[in-house]
């Protein structure tokens, strides 16, 4: 038994662990007992670790015939009442989109890890990118709500994987965990508290007589109770637009009522879902907005700027979608300019421009397969501070 797994049994001393392994352990700690996947670089370590760990815990690991089937099997397991996850990267994430939309529409809790690599298409399988930020939000057809989490360290991958399961269960929503190849395969020394509260969030299960149960009638929180197969409710689940009874409908009123509830489901719980971090934003003249490994570089850039007398700050969305608008507005309230470094051709920048309309927003984009280093960010921030 190695140090990491021994932590599961009570000891918490850790030495070194990669982001992907932290994700696998976070999944176990978050209650995941089903994983379906398909090999793809650079996410495969998650599947490999869970293929060893899940059977020992009475869970199931299955390697499916393709990415589409993996996503389908995860939803199937979750419909059976088991917390389930899949992990993939770029091309695989594209293939999962249709079934991901099903999970959003039918409100089936599940967790999808997307380790971002260079794109488009096969791109650069062993190189990092952050080019799926918008796909994670809008990748499947139609309007739908989704939660996307963007951790920035190995430790945070562990924590956010646990939170992903809690959010998926609480709001009956797919949750995407988004991080780049660097974080996936970077090993860091971390102390993981694997002994904390073992009672994680559970989706609300149907109770009471069958005749009174309406599968998509919302409770006060806007989240419908789910029925567990075998519990006597014998309900219907469909990807077709459905009414409160779960059966297909094209009645404009019923469609509007159910979709309005679906679209507002996450919005009304923004306070509980939002998560972000900020550093030195209070007096910052330039606020840097970044996620993932780029936020790590930006963190160092802020220190470099401050050492030179440039008042820089960092705002880092941890819940990327729904986007933490209020927190960003507050963090950038006093800034004369905002810098958005990201490993793509400009995605996060678009959202920041939208939220901070009227403020000067500059991008620092890199899609060469190399991470952006602190001195580059610091230099741009310093230049911006001087210009602004």
């Amino acid at each position: 038994m190695n140090a990491v797994d021994s932590a599961l049994t009570g000891r918490t001393t850790l030495k070194l662990i990669s982001g992907n392994n932290a994700c696998a352990l976070g999944a176990i700690a978050g209650g995941c007992r089903f994983f379906a996947g398909y090999p793809i670089t650079p996410s495969s370590e998650i599947a490999e670790r869970l293929s060893r760990r899940l059977p020992e815990l009475g869970g199931v690991f299955v390697q499916m015939e393709d990415e589409i089937a993996s996503m389908a099997a995860v939803i199937g397991a979750s419909m059976g009442g088991v917390k389930a996850m899949t992990a993939t990267s770029g091309p695989g994430f594209s293939l999962k989109q249709e079934n991901l939309g099903y999970a959003a529409g039918a409100e089936i809790p599940c967790v999808i890890v997307n380790v971002m690599r260079g794109g488009p298409s096969t791109g650069m399988p062993t190189r990092p990118a952050q080019a799926d930020l918008m796909q994670a939000r809008w990748g499947s057809h139609g309007d739908y709500p989704i939660i996307v989490l963007a951790p920035a360290s190995v430790r945070e991958i562990f924590d956010e994987t646990i939170r992903a399961f809690d959010l998926a269960e609480t709001y009956r929503s797919p949750v995407v965990l988004l991080y780049d190849q660097v974080l996936a395969q970077l090993s860091e020394t971390v102390a993981l508290d694997l002994t904390r509260d073992p009672a994680r969030a559970e989706r609300k299960w149907a109770s009471g007589p069958r005749a009174d149960y309406r599968p998509y009638a919302a409770d006060a929180a806007g989240v419908p109770a789910m029925s567990r197969p075998g519990a006597g409710y014998r309900t219907h689940t469909t990807g077709l637009t459905h009414g409160e009874d779960g059966f297909p409908t094209q009645n404009p009123e019923a469609v509007t009522r159910n979709l309005s509830r679906l679209f507002s489901k996450l919005e009304r719980h923004r306070n509980a879902i939002d998560a972000s971090a900020k550093l030195h934003c209070d007096d910052a003249e330039v606020v840097i907005v970044a996620v993932g490994i780029t936020a790590r570089a930006a963190n160092r850039a802020v220190e470099l700027c401050r050492a030179q007398g440039v008042r820089a700050g960092l705002f880092r969305p941890i819940t990327l979608w729904p986007f933490p608008e209020q927190a960003l507005r507050a963090a950038a309230a006093g800034a004369r300019a905002v810098l958005v470094p990201e490993m793509n051709a400009g995605q996060l920048c678009l959202e920041v421009e939208r939220v901070l309309a009227g403020t000067r927003v500059e991008g620092l984009f890199r899609f060469s397969g190399e991470p952006i280093v602190p001195v580059e960010i610091a230099a741009r921030a310093a230049a911006l501070a001087q210009e602004a």
Binding site: E56, G58, V62, A72, M79, Y102, P229
Partner: protein, 281 residues
């Protein structure tokens, strides 16, 4: 003397009557297939609460909504993949997949061959009506050669799949075919599939009177069924009669059966053993 084989079976006990009338066209064979399935479920005494039906997209896919059980109408071509997750997570459920020829053999073909190979306990009913009926009658992987469809105006020139040969070659534990004309035989075949401990593939030869039959001047539903009957022979005769190859010559009955270990049980047994010995990680 007339013997009512189904005297003990009232289909209404297994249907969501509030969903009636159903949306199938007059003459469609899918309702007969549904009846045969529910009759088999009744005869085997399967608890409706423990029955899970997963269906794909298309006319066949819509059948799950009529069944008073745990029903899941999923994405096009993927019911077997959803069912794999459900059956692995919940081995206490009887998992049945209802799919069509396009759903199962075209967009879902990859899932079919791997479900056959994996041999997880799922009963897959493929309702073959030779056409994409829901979308208006386009050519499918089982459309007979020369048939006219809305996307083969000059006649279909692609050979069709023999789904049962495909399933058997991919290793399915149980493979069978029947037509809707023989309801008791169809019911018995589905029953045998449900009882098989591994993956069971049952092809049901249905008929699409309104879309496919009309386009090809095949007459009404009884005429289409009689045509099917003339083109089929019970498998017992297949090996003993030397006939030249005919594209529509399909054998019926149980066509393949093997006792390969069921995947779920094997996985759970090995997992329990690994948990006990604390396998290296």
């Amino acid at each position: 003397m007339f013997i009512d084989l189904a005297a003990e079976f009232d289909i209404r006990d297994y249907l969501r009557m509030e969903m009636m009338p159903h949306f199938l066209c007059p003459g469609c064979g899918h309702g007969i297939a549904l009846r045969a399935l529910l009759w088999a479920v009744h005869d085997l005494g399967i608890d409706k609460d423990r029955l899970a039906v997963v269906s794909g997209i298309g006319c066949a896919g819509r059948l799950s909504a009529y069944i008073d059980a745990n029903t899941f109408h999923v994405t096009h071509g993927r019911p077997l993949a959803y069912a794999t997750g459900l059956a692995l997570a919940r081995p206490d459920l009887s998992v049945v997949v209802i799919t069509g020829d396009g759903d199962c053999l075209a967009i879902g073909g990859n899932h079919l061959i791997h479900a056959c190979r994996r041999n997880l306990k799922i009963t897959c009913l493929m309702l073959n009506n030779e056409v994409y009926g829901m979308t208006g009658g386009q050519v499918s992987p089982t459309t007979s050669e020369t048939r006219i469809t809305t996307t083969t105006p000059l006649g279909n020139s692609e050979p069709h799949f023999d789904a049962c040969m495909l399933a058997a070659a991919a290793g399915a534990g149980f493979v069978g075919r029947e037509m809707t004309r023989h309801v008791p035989k169809l019911k018995e075949l589905i029953e045998a599939g449900l009882e098989h401990p591994g993956f069971a593939f049952v092809e049901i030869l249905s008929d699409c009177t309104e879309i496919f039959g009309r386009k090809n001047d095949m007459g009404s539903s009884p005429e289409m069924m009689l045509r099917q009957k003339s083109e089929l022979r019970p498998s017992a005769y297949r090996d003993s009669v030397d006939t030249p190859f005919r594209p529509n010559d399909l054998p019926t009955g149980i066509l393949a059966k093997n006792a390969r270990p069921e995947y779920g049980a094997t996985y759970r047994r090995e997992a329990a053993a690994a948990a006990q010995r604390g396998a290296p990680r």
